[in-house]
């Protein structure tokens, strides 16, 4: 992957990862672009080839050609708002009634005189039959033409309020003229897609919570961030993205087997950035102090040495595994496991001894934990000493109590200051002329964060404490 083919590129390339947003979030698909990759939209199988070399943010529509359906960039009109006023603007992806925006600009008060008194649900409003539509399709009618025909043949369309006319149009558009928006897979879009479709895979980590973790732990270039990521690699990827190929993110784990970080591969991280993602068992990071510990550590090393091979195999396994399974997970379509392996970034190597030594000497710049399955206090107790003095940390958990206990113990042990438990709250608004209000549905819960700053162990007393804890 050349440098231009990385997270900063705004145009896709072969082998690049993309997030396909079908019909405004109805379906979210992570895909890796290759000439052979295919995506099923409705009942049509479309090649992803036309997406290669296109700008992120491009909207595609399904067109029909003699040799089958294909994706082509949808024409976007600059004067979209006015066009929609004429009933032509079917390229609009927003859930907005632009018609009304145009009215409001003209200074008209947005008063709707029509209502639903004349609407009767007897299934006779539409005079076009399924066969009619099929016939139109055979004659090569485009989705938009079918929608216009449906509207023209609807006995009730004119009686609907302009709001429900818009709803009707949108519903038909989704069915007959699906839109595919090609998004850049970055921390924001990846987190949102998982949160929407598979929240349990990322420990219900909401995008605002993730953003707070990165801030609270002062993730910045040239820093060495220690993470415990049991949220599929989302955290590791997000940290690596912020480091931009400087510093290191150390994805650490207890025991012998690293935690999955499949999601890292969805980011388009450059090789330079991937090299900065290292994986290490926590036992390797702990200081070697007493003789027994050294001994214990050596044993560990031997074990992990032999484990190295298995884990290398395991990671290969993971990759080919995910190119088949991971895809359907969140709807990733991918066809060529071979390409997949070749293109997979080399993220997650074991750190070299010099790097571990430098971490031991300088301490990590900060710590982020998202480990729903581990006890917060014992984890923090063991990991905090690995941080530099004055280093900030942020611990995510879905439950309040483990963080409360952790915070209380940190206070008692005088290990940290500036301790705070925060619960982020995020509300989205529908903003439309005369119809602005909070969205009807919201995520009621984004988890809790315990944040703070590590302070110096001031006395011998606390260092002896440390030994006991170890």
């Amino acid at each position: 992957m050349s440098e231009s083919n990385s997270s900063s590129s705004r145009v896709t390339w072969e082998g690049c990862s993309v997030l396909l947003d079908i019909n405004d979030g109805d379906r979210l698909v992570f895909a890796r672009l290759s000439p052979a990759a295919k995506l099923k939209i409705g009942n049509k199988n479309c090649s992803l080839q036309p997406l290669i070399g296109r700008a992120f943010g491009t909207v595609f529509q399904v067109d029909t050609a003699p040799n089958g359906p294909y994706l082509s960039p949808a024409q976007v009109n600059v004067n979209n708002a006015e066009e929609i006023g004429d009933g032509q603007g079917n390229n609009e992806m927003d859930k907005v009634n632009v018609n009304n925006a145009a009215q409001a600009r003209d200074g008209e008060v947005n008063v709707e005189s029509r209502d639903n008194r004349a609407l009767v649900d007897n299934n006779t409003a539409q005079s076009l039959t399924g066969e009619d539509i099929e016939a139109m399709r055979r004659q090569g009618a485009r989705g938009n033409e079918i929608i216009e025909a449906l509207i023209a043949n609807s006995a009730t369309f004119e009686k609907k309020t302009s709001f429900s006319q818009e709803k009707y149009r949108l519903k038909k558009q989704k069915k007959y003229a699906p839109k595919v928006l090609m998004r850049r897979p970055v921390a924001r879009s990846i987190c949102e897609a998982y949160f929407k479709k598979y929240p349990s895979k990322i420990g219900f980590l909401r995008v605002d919570t993730l953003s707070l973790l990165l801030s609270m732990a002062n993730v910045s270039s040239n820093s060495d961030i220690l993470v415990v990521d049991m949220v599929g690699g989302l955290l590791t990827g997000a940290v690596a993205e912020r480091l931009g190929g400087t510093g290191f993110v150390c994805n650490s784990y207890f025991g012998q087997a690293p935690y999955s970080m499949d999601i890292v591969r969805i980011f388009n991280l450059s090789d330079e950035i991937c090299k900065r993602i290292l994986r290490s068992p926590i036992s390797d990071l702990l200081p070697k102090e007493s003789p027994e510990q050294v001994l214990e550590h050596d044993v560990c090393n031997v074990e992990s040495q032999s484990n190295d091979q298995t884990s290398a195999l395991a990671s290969m396994d993971e990759i080919s595994h995910s190119s088949e399974n991971g895809i359907s997970d969140i709807g990733i379509e991918n066809t060529e496991p071979a390409i997949e392996i070749r293109k997979a970034p080399k993220a997650g190597e074991r750190p070299q001894k010099e790097i571990i030594d430098s971490w031991r000497e300088n301490g990590f710049s900060s710590l982020i934990v998202a480990a729903p399955e581990l006890d917060a206090w014992t984890l923090v107790r063991d990991l905090l000493p690995l941080l530099a003095n004055s280093a900030p940390f942020a611990i995510y958990h879905q439950y309040l109590q483990p963080l409360a206990t952790c915070m209380h113990n940190l206070q008692l042990e005088k290990m940290a200051i500036g301790l705070q438990i925060s619960e982020p709250w995020l509300r989205e608004y529908q903003v439309l002329p005369s119809r602005t209000h909070p969205c009807m549905q919201m995520s009621a819960f984004g988890g809790y964060i315990l944040s703070g700053t590590k302070i110096c162990n001031s006395t011998a007393n606390s260092s002896s404490n440390r030994t006991v804890l170890l």
Binding site: M93, M216, N222, G244, N389, T453
Partner: protein, 309 residues
């Protein structure tokens, strides 16, 4: 504040030197930025602290006053800076700041335009996010405020990442030299809709915009204008609820209701002398939301420049 030189990473593990910016921590709600200067003292309710005592100590140290009171000396981060900077305007706080940086998809190397600069609270986090190779150009029409912000960025060591300029963005738009170059634009203006057409001109294809407005009427007007050339228009409100944690003893009831008159709750001390209803109090760690909180900061409206084919 940021380690711009890879060789100096983990720089906060080094010790405090003359001229360093430190955050003096008294309590979580009482901190102060101090530039260390040998021969000066810091005086607060805990006594007099000699800066010379601080030299050579690692960041994160506890230091004592002449009266035995103490404070901690912390390495400055954008989060701490937001808590100590001088408020020349209303500022953005951590929840909004974090969300803005994430939602604008700002990563190292990005070029970001901001107006107004205000007190530079957000700017500091934008600078951290674009470092080491990106740049933030921030504009404020208030000459003196721009000057103070510039001094602050000098003090926090961010001046190589941030350029402050005096310009009325609502009136004049962003300078033409940035046309098509910006990855992200942030607007915190009284009439943001006036700056939207210029912002659209500055952005790269698929580039992101955020407008922060306290009032919904501002949001309403901005969204109408945004629809002309932007897509993915979304408005959010983001807040933080903080929790208090304390350990307390709660009476537990030895529970078979054997003739006690059920006059609960009974005071702890009373029960300890002879009452047979209450067992010894159990200590537990409990959490509850803080009583007061910030209820509103502003609405964040995000949009993405529509791709033309």
């Amino acid at each position: 504040m940021l380690a711009s030189d890879p060789a100096k990473k983990n720089s906060f593990n080094r010790s405090i030197n003359n001229g360093d910016l430190v955050i003096v921590y008294e309590r979580h709600d009482n901190m102060k930025a101090v530039t260390v200067s040998e021969g000066t003292v810091l005086q607060n309710r805990f006594g007099i602290f000699k800066h010379s005592d601080w030299l050579g100590k690692p960041f994160g140290s506890k230091v004592f006053s002449n009266k035995g009171g103490y404070v901690y000396l912390l390495y400055p981060t954008p989060e701490l800076w937001t808590l100590v900077l001088s408020h020349r305007t209303q500022i953005l706080y951590i929840a909004d700041i974090s969300f803005v940086v994430m939602y604008l998809e700002i990563v190292p190397g990005c070029l970001v335009l901001e107006s107004g600069t205000g007190s530079g609270s957000l700017t500091t986090s934008l600078a951290r996010a674009v470092a080491p190779t990106g740049h933030v150009y921030t504009f404020d029409f208030h000459e003196q405020r721009a000057g103070s912000a510039r001094d602050d960025f000098e003090r926090t060591g961010l001046s190589n990442l941030v350029t402050v300029r005096v310009r009325d963005i609502q009136g004049e738009g962003f300078p033409d030299e940035f046309t098509g170059l910006a990855d992200a634009v942030f607007l915190d203006l009284p009439q943001p809709w006036l700056a939207v057409p210029s912002a659209a001109k500055m952005l790269k294809e698929d580039g992101t915009l955020c407008s922060f407005s306290p009032c919904i009427e501002q949001v309403q007007r901005s969204c109408e204008v945004l629809r002309t050339s932007f897509t993915d228009i979304r408005t959010f409100e983001v807040l933080l609820r903080a929790y208090e944690v304390r350990e307390d003893k709660l009476e537990s009831i030895e529970g078979n209701g054997d003739g006690s008159n059920g006059s609960l709750p009974c005071k702890r001390r009373q029960c300890s002398d002879g009452g047979n209803v209450m067992s010894s109090p159990i200590s537990s760690v409990m959490a509850r939301p803080c009583i007061e909180a910030r209820g509103h900061t502003g609405y964040l409206t995000f949009a993405r420049l529509r791709c033309l084919i």
